[in-house]
Subunit: 288 residues, 2 copies
């Protein structure tokens, strides 16, 4: 990543402009949706570590008059285990406040009477306990990490290529995420692989799907323009929320890269250094 100096100069200019744009609407906000990995914590060995100031920032939001929900594409654990991990890091949150792709996928499978072949992380499998998986007639992929072996991807491919009209669900479409030891390939990369292999388009469950964001808005009983999404993923968090009519803020933590601030198609309503800074600005503007 060269030209860091010029990028930073550039991003500072954009920040100043964009900052003005989003803070103007802070007073009319009624709810905030937070992405989790890369905003609250950095994942990695042992479950990861909180990002400086984020535990306190969540606490401040909870004590405010804003509604708060959490929206993640995390698919390496059941929602229960995932929430327990965040609680151990010190975050105040409960399972009912967290929206993740697997429960949404289970609803869709049941509605449409589909039986999945799963290519997901071992720890996510229990989310699908209530779903019939005999004689599969679709494939569900999540962030399977080390389970994305050649054999396992080939097994999923065999199921799809044997169908008249292959049905592929992808739990998110992220390219990569940041762990404490570096960037790691995400489920979207393997979604693209299977899409190309079978000449099919996957149905994405999770961010940036509009249906997924809408389910969070429904739960808050709020209109899109009353809600701000904060995430580290420009396309899936910010762009997805904007498509739904929300404002979207990108934090410069997690998978953020300076080049995000000159992305050809998605421009955040604002860029802030981290969640603590975002919450500071929000609460300051609301108290003025």
């Amino acid at each position: 990543m060269p030209h860091i100096a010029s990028l930073c100069a550039n991003s500072h200019r954009l920040y100043t402009m964009a900052d003005h744009k989003w803070t103007g609407s802070v007073k009319s906000l009624k709810g905030v949706i937070l992405d989790m990995c890369g905003v609250l914590y950095d994942s990695g060995e042992g479950g990861g570590v909180p990002i400086s100031g984020s535990v306190e920032a969540v606490k401040r939001l909870k004590e405010s008059d804003l509604q708060l929900r959490f929206c993640t594409n995390e698919t390496q654990a059941t929602r229960e285990k995932f929430v327990a991990k965040l609680q151990r890091m010190g975050f105040e949150l409960s399972v009912s406040e967290v929206f993740s792709p697997a429960p949404a996928a289970v609803s869709i499978l049941k509605e449409r009477g589909l039986k999945p072949h799963l290519l997901v992380h071992d720890d996510l499998v229990p989310e699908f306990d209530s779903v019939d998986k005999t004689n599969p007639n679709c494939v569900v992929i999540g962030d399977a990490a080390d389970k994305f072996s050649y054999k396992n991807l080939n097994d999923a491919f065999q199921v799809l290529i044997g169908m008249e009209k292959p049905v592929l669900f992808s739990l998110g479409r992220g390219r990569y995420y940041k762990e404490t030891d570096g960037l790691k390939l995400d489920v979207g990369v393997y979604m693209k692989a299977l899409e190309y292999a079978c000449d099919v388009e996957a149905e994405v469950v999770g961010k940036p799907s509009a249906m997924f964001f809408q389910s969070v808005l429904n739960d808050m009983a709020l209109q899109p323009h009353e809600v701000l999404m904060i995430g580290d993923d420009l396309v899936n968090d910010v762009g997805g929320a904007q498509q739904c009519g929300m404002k979207g803020l990108q934090v410069r933590t997690g998978k953020y890269r300076p080049s995000d601030e000159r992305h050809p198609t998605v421009t955040a309503d604002g860029y802030v250094d981290n969640l603590a800074a975002a919450v500071d600005i929000i609460l300051r503007h609301r108290s003025q």
Copy 2:
């Protein structure tokens, strides 16, 4: 794969029409290029097995007045080992008659002073012995099969994402190939995965690259319209050859599927049941 009966009826009709089209130009042919896997043999455990009649068909072509070359996207072995395997199956061919992506990639790397990170089959590595691989500034992927682990794909991704302008070479862009125990994912699937992860377009070395086909034509010192390509891959063999101005014949062996005969963008100049049938027709029309 449903509607087999109607597809077969359909394909028979297309065959009759297309047959007429390609046989008209057989008398003016001066050379034939054969794809190997799926035309000469089916790969699988123990190296694979010859397709019925293909050993004799190659022998008949060699005894004719036509020039003959072999053009493969095989990247699971060095050209020497690969040719030795085919010779053990009974095929008459020599290393100098076989064109494969790895030697072509080595030429490109040397021309451009590039140092590759390799994600290829262990048995292909010796092809790159003469290339400096320290501090890699590009990635070369081939059909790595079981070596396409999450870790290895992630390692290749890390090299690419760390570069200002990622340079990715893919040895072919096939979706899948047929082994004796079923269809297997090919390198193109992983090329698409890395393209999406890094927002980059791979440079394809091998079929269907025009540069690759042209190197075979140069070796024969023939013009495209004087040469017929015979393959089982509609897009990479037939479509690639047609893009170069050759005629392209698809055999109904290997990875052939009935739906190929109603492909939206590529139509073969003819469809034949297997190589033996193709050679029969060619030699019969030339002797008339």
